[in-house]
């Protein structure tokens, strides 16, 4: 039973939700700049910072678990990591992928070394530093959440204020500079915001999986919209949703680290979005493909019936199935489809065009022949090229374009092969 009035659970859900909003919003810019994996490297590079800050705090007699202190340490090493990636790619032949890999693994190694040293001193258990590895939202204290909320608020406010700058910067940075925007400073600002978003998430999701919370909500949101503003809002929402869901699941059972549950929640969102988002969804695209294929087959069947009709000027006469099979397209499924749509009538072993079928068939044949004529007149294409191209275009051209072409050609009556262009349905 999930009890949202349980203060621990409330903390957990609140903290993870706040994190999801921040990571989702900033993640959009990381993904659009193709820097998805920078977030991963940054998160790993933050680990030694957390440990060093803890050591520093202990040494200076401060409260070493003070969240601002730990986050500050994380910020410093994450920044150093980013700068190293930049310096490496600028001054050597090392490419960005290897630079990210180097910073990620070596910094993480250093973090592990520090962590084991602290463990030996018996300090980590009271510090709970291992929660920074895979995340333990249950360990969030109210002051942690307050820190996250304040940092997150500042990040979102900055994002709101500089939204237009970031938009043009990410889309077209050379143009942004030509407008006189301070591109270098904006880039540093944007990267800093991403660093803050990563660091804020460390305690909840952990360094290892933080990258997913940056990238996945943005990737999911992109499927639902073509506007940047909407994408940022959606990604925030997705981030919050998976944060709360993941943290809640993790809190209900023992030995379920928060990081993995949140990541699995957000991965599920990505999967759903990729499959079912309107327009971009893979499922709909597959449906559309199937529908188009079915329509093309149907139209080919009608066209073939029309052509048979041209041979003896009897357009709605009954045609033997075997004749149709010989032409091409009379597949049983297509015929069933055509009959259900009321375009053909099946009688015994024959098939004929209905009234509606005649209208539709005439339109397709007209498209085909006008397009062939257009190609041969405008492009001087050889006759044998015309048919194959028209075979595809007749299904794709919309009526507006066809009408324009028809008008431009002066409403012709025959195609380049001398066959009539149907202008209506024979009585």
């Amino acid at each position: 039973m999930i009890d949202f009035f349980d203060p621990t659970l409330r903390n957990v859900a609140l903290g993870s939700g706040v994190l999801g909003v921040i990571a989702g919003a900033l993640g959009c810019f990381a993904v659009l700049r193709r820097q998805s994996l920078l977030g991963d490297a940054l998160a790993h590079a933050a680990l030694p910072g957390v440990c060093l800050a803890f050591l520093f705090g202990t040494h200076m007699g401060l409260d070493p678990k003070q969240p601002l202190l730990l986050l500050g340490g994380a910020l410093v090493t994450a920044w150093i990591g980013t700068m190293l990636v930049l310096a490496m790619t600028r001054t050597t032949r090392i490419k960005e992928d290897a630079a990210l890999g180097i910073v990620l693994s070596v910094f993480f190694g250093a973090g592990i070394v520090l962590l084991t040293l602290l463990q030996k001193g018996g300090a980590t258990n009271q510090a709970g530093l291992d929660r920074f590895l895979f995340g333990q939202a249950a360990s969030l204290l109210p002051r942690d959440i307050a820190t996250m909320a304040i940092l997150g608020g500042a990040v979102l406010l900055t994002l709101f204020f500089y939204f237009k700058d970031f938009q043009v910067l990410v889309f077209d940075s050379a143009y942004a500079r030509s407008l006189g925007l301070p591109v270098r400073r904006l880039e540093i600002l944007l990267t800093s915001l991403i660093v803050v978003a990563v660091v804020v998430g460390l305690q909840t999701v952990g360094v290892v999986l933080m990258a997913a919370l940056i990238v996945a909500p943005a990737a999911a949101a992109r499927q639902w919209t073509d506007r940047l503003g909407v994408m940022v809002l959606l990604a925030s929402g997705f981030g919050a949703l998976s944060g709360v869901a993941g943290a809640t699941i993790s809190a209900t059972k023992r030995r379920l680290p928060t990081g993995p549950t949140i990541v699995l929640a957000v991965s599920a969102l990505v999967l759903i979005s990729l499959l079912f988002a309107p327009r971009r969804g893979i499922v709909w695209a597959a449906f559309r493909r199937v529908r188009t294929r079915r329509r093309v087959r149907l139209e080919n069947l009608l066209k073939d019936l029309w052509r048979l009709g041209e041979l003896d000027s009897r357009f709605d006469a009954l045609r033997a199935i075997t004749d149709l099979m010989a032409v091409r397209s009379a597949l049983p499924a297509t015929m069933r489809h055509a009959r259900n749509a009321g375009l053909v009538a099946v009688e015994g072993t024959g098939i004929r065009l209905t009234k509606a079928g005649l209208v539709r068939a005439a339109a397709i044949v007209r498209n085909h022949r006008i397009w062939e004529l257009y190609l041969s007149r405008r492009l001087d294409l050889a006759d044998d090229h015309l048919h194959r191209d028209a075979e595809e275009m007749e299904h794709a051209l919309d009526s507006e374009v066809m009408e324009a072409i028809d008008r431009a050609l002066g409403r012709p009556t025959t195609d380049p092969h001398g066959r009539p262009i149907p202008r209506g349905v024979p009585a």
């Binding site: 204020f161 043009v168 143009y175 942004a176 030509s178 006189g180 073509d226």
Partner: protein, 260 residues
């Protein structure tokens, strides 16, 4: 006093690391003209535009735009980058992109005002893209994408337009529309500088040509500068066929101009 020239390039050298891309280029481009920058691949054509726009560091020399450093005059300059330089999958509509043309104005940073929006829509209309105003930019054809970029520059309402290969990869209809637009800009006293690849259309589209191959070969009115010898100097022996084609076209164009 007459207005200073829109572009003065004084002894400009640009190098990536220590490899020169532009080598001591010195030229002045006159106002109210359509200018083509022409030269082989890697001749530094785009770099010259970027040098004017203060987008690359100069190893030597300086640039003046309307007699002043670029940063003081950037309100009067609009840049049209190469179409391939951006990711068209970016989540933005045509209107979103064109509105970017208004971002350089002071006080823009709250939200675009109604006046900015009106300007953007007017620019979209001038390139015949009103029907596509709200369409996502990845679902545009190459020509429509180029028109979008042009509209963005128009929305800046500049006096000097710097365009990096505006004719690259566009359909014939768009090419004609762009030419018409350039002429309209010239009629209104604007200056347009284009990096241009198609030698054959230079005499037809442009008034002034700058031949570049790392060094400046020649720069001047098309009918003085666009000659076989100069093209030969620009392209070396590499493009003999193209060069002959250009010369033929030039002859035709001049013949037509004389005849007409």
């Amino acid at each position: 006093m007459s207005e200073p020239a829109p572009v003065e390039v004084h002894d400009v050298t640009v190098a990536y690391h220590t490899k020169p891309v532009l080598w001591d280029v010195d030229l002045t481009l006159p106002g109210g003209k359509l200018v083509a920058i022409v030269g082989p691949n890697g001749a530094g054509k785009s770099t010259l535009l970027k040098a004017i726009l203060n987008l690359v560091p100069l190893s030597s020399g300086y640039v003046r735009v309307f007699g002043k450093p670029y940063n003081e005059m950037r309100q009067r300059v609009a840049y049209v980058p190469q179409r391939e330089s951006v990711d068209w999958d970016f989540p933005a509509s045509v209107l979103d992109v064109v509105l970017m043309g208004r971002y350089g104005r002071p006080g823009w940073f709250r939200r675009p005002r109604a006046a900015d929006r009106a300007r953007a829509e007017e620019a979209i209309d001038r390139v015949d893209m009103t029907a596509y105003r709200d369409r996502q930019i990845s679902r545009l054809s190459g020509g429509q994408q180029q028109r979008t970029f042009l509209a963005r520059a128009l929305a800046q309402d500049a006096d000097l337009y710097l365009m990096d290969e505006p004719f690259a990869g566009v359909d014939a209809l768009t090419e004609r529309a762009i030419v018409a637009l350039l002429r309209e800009l010239r009629k209104n006293g604007r200056t347009v500088v284009c990096v241009h690849h198609d030698l054959q259309t230079v005499p037809e589209y442009f008034d002034w040509v700058t031949l570049l191959n790392m060094r400046l070969v020649r720069s001047g009115p098309v009918d003085e500068v666009f000659t076989a010898e100069n093209l030969h100097m620009t392209y070396g022996g590499r493009l003999a066929i193209l060069e002959r084609a250009a010369t033929d076209y030039l002859k035709d164009a001049r013949g037509a101009a004389r005849g007409g």
